[in-house]
């Protein structure tokens, strides 16, 4: 072992990692600083004179003068919490069912459940929009069969929000289910055998044996979903465009509209920075609260 080997190793490290670092730099650090710069200016795209410096005015306006911001933020939070909780419960339920029953049928199900996850959101969103249609949609047709009144899914604020959560659940539960199923498969069988010897019912086993054992996997899966569902854009944009009025306009959409509809780039940049901070804080809190760091994942 001498110098040439160390040198070769170092060259290899640089050559293999630098392209990635470069790309990451221009995708994360560079936009961050540009956003920071723009957020301190009044940057109206339609203004021929360009932008001018206004200090923290944008931030001040967002936090103190903008009820739409707070509404968008609260919508985002409600969306994330509800969607992730529902997807987790359904995911663990379906995963347990599949796990209990190893057969060609359940393997077929596993494969087919990939389709909602892989299907292009914009295509599916259009179909969901049609299915929610009050007169032409399939849901109201089924309701009619049971003599329930037709529902205007997308025209009422709360219902529109619920419909979006429904579509998001349809799309992402398979992902949760997949991760949780892999986690279930990796578990040792002794605790389960002990539980069934002791005469535990399905639900008792679920709550006292399964859930504690897959806590690491569940927490990571939930972290992923939380971070990703903050960024949900496609389905909201296509199905409700922000909802009747702005009742489904999450922070993501609000920033997008401010930048590309109202052309207020400075304001939108400030919103992006605030949104980034919020996501980072929530992710950090979640990691700390669930102790993911100690599980040695990162």
């Amino acid at each position: 072992m001498g110098n040439p080997i160390f040198r070769e190793k170092r060259i290899f490290i640089y050559q293999s990692i630098l392209p990635a670092i470069f790309i990451l730099f221009i995708i994360t650090i560079l936009p961050f600083f540009i956003n920071l710069y723009n957020s301190l200016r009044d940057y109206y795209l339609a203004n021929p004179e360009g932008s001018y410096f206004i200090g923290f005015q944008n931030y001040y306006n967002i936090i103190f003068n903008d009820p739409n911001f707070w509404k968008a933020l609260s919508l985002n939070l409600i969306f994330v919490v509800s969607a992730v909780c529902i997807q987790f419960c359904l995911g663990i339920g379906i995963a347990s069912l599949i796990h209990q029953n190893e057969s060609p049928f359940s393997r077929f199900i596993q494969g087919s459940l990939m389709l909602p996850f892989a299907a292009t959101p914009i295509a599916m969103a259009f179909i969901w929009r049609l299915m929610f249609n009050p007169s032409l949609g399939i849901f109201n047709y089924f309701f009619g069969l049971f003599n329930i009144n037709a529902v205007t899914w997308l025209s009422q604020p709360k219902l529109a929000f619920f419909s979006l959560i429904l579509v998001d659940t349809w799309q992402w539960t398979p992902f949760m289910m997949l991760l949780l199923l892999a986690g279930l498969k990796a578990l040792p069988t002794e605790p389960f055998e002990a539980a069934s010897v002791d005469g535990a019912t399905f639900f008792q086993t679920l709550f006292h044996v399964t859930l504690p054992l897959i806590k690491p996997v569940s927490m990571i899966a939930m972290l992923f979903r939380i971070i990703d569902s903050f960024k949900t854009f496609d389905i909201i944009f296509i199905i409700t465009r922000g909802g009747p009025g702005n009742s489904t306009e999450t922070l993501n959409l609000y920033t997008f509209y401010k930048g590309f509809n109202h052309l207020r780039m400075g304001y939108a940049s400030a919103l992006s920075i605030i949104m980034l901070i919020i996501i980072i804080v929530i992710a950090q809190k979640f990691i700390k609260y669930t102790g993911i760091n100690e599980m040695g994942v990162f």
């Binding site: 990635a20 389709l115 049609l130 930048g259 940049s269």
Partner: protein
């Protein structure tokens, strides 16, 4: 009731529940498929017509629409190029992050994963301005670049999971035989993780194909993809459901082919990083 029959009933119940889940999961796709084959009257008929005359008119109108083949080629080029570049950059980086010991390793690893936290809008706004000034707004290059940035963290993360599984013995044997690092990498390590690479490639392709925000905002008439082109069928007066569903099916078909062929790999790719 004996234990055996009880188990059989339990299995029936589980299969029934799973069937309900399956129906719910596949129904929208089935609905889009049938709508794409219905003519105008049948497609919006209420109560819905479960049996109908199959017509291929919708597909004909999609394929003969203006520039459809251009848009299709755009979609393929964008997804293919971004996948290739992401693999070329991400796989070596993942290998180095898993195997080599150096100071900044943990920090870089964490940085890569935490870039997922950035909302796409936060990246889109500065880049829209940059591309506008560089004159790159209606090009495929800008979208490819965005997709590379979008898929790189995930690819690195997935490949790290696969690289962790390789025994050290492989590299030790190679270095005893006098292989340089890069030679070891190309001839010994890569063939071992070819499964992981295909999983990462599929995911990168699918996410790039399905992506909407960047594609919609950064594309124009010449760089539009077939996903963004679905808007074509929504005009001021009506939504042309037949051709819309047909173009939706065309958008979905490559994905479905991929998924059906390689679903085991897909599952592997998604779960390997999490399950140790």
């Amino acid at each position: 009731m004996s234990a055996v029959t009880r188990k059989k009933y339990k299995n029936y119940l589980i299969n029934l529940l799973l069937l309900i889940v399956l129906i719910f999961a596949l129904f929208p796709i089935y609905w889009m498929f049938t709508m794409s084959l219905k003519n105008k009257v049948d497609s919006l008929a209420m109560p819905p017509r479960w049996f109908f005359n199959v017509t291929f008119d919708n597909y004909l109108s999609v394929f003969s629409g203006n520039n459809f083949s251009n848009y299709f080629i755009n979609s393929i080029i964008i997804s293919l190029m971004s996948t290739i570049v992401v693999l070329a950059i991400g796989v070596p980086a993942a290998y180095t992050l898993t195997r080599m010991k150096f100071e900044a390793k943990k920090h870089i690893s964490f940085w890569i994963i935490s870039t997922r936290m950035a909302p796409p809008v936060a990246v889109l706004i500065p880049y829209f301005i940059i591309f506008k000034h560089l004159g790159l707004l209606d090009t495929r290059t800008s979208i490819i670049l965005m997709h590379i940035g979008m898929n790189l963290p995930l690819t690195v993360w997935i490949m790290q999971g696969f690289f962790k599984e390789i025994p050290f013995a492989l590299e030790e044997a190679a270095s005893i035989d006098g292989c340089s690092r890069w030679k070891t990498y190309y001839q010994i390590i890569l063939p071992t993780v070819i499964g992981g690479i295909s999983a990462a490639a599929i995911l990168a392709f699918v996410f790039s194909w399905n992506e909407l925000m960047y594609t919609l905002t950064l594309s124009g008439r010449s760089s539009r993809t077939i996903t963004a082109d679905m808007y074509n069928y929504i005009s001021y007066q009506e939504i042309n459901w037949g051709p819309l569903c047909a173009s939706g099916m065309v958008v979905l078909i490559p994905i479905f082919i991929f998924v059906i062929l390689v679903q085991k790999r897909l599952v592997q790719g998604l779960t390997v990083g999490i399950i140790k």
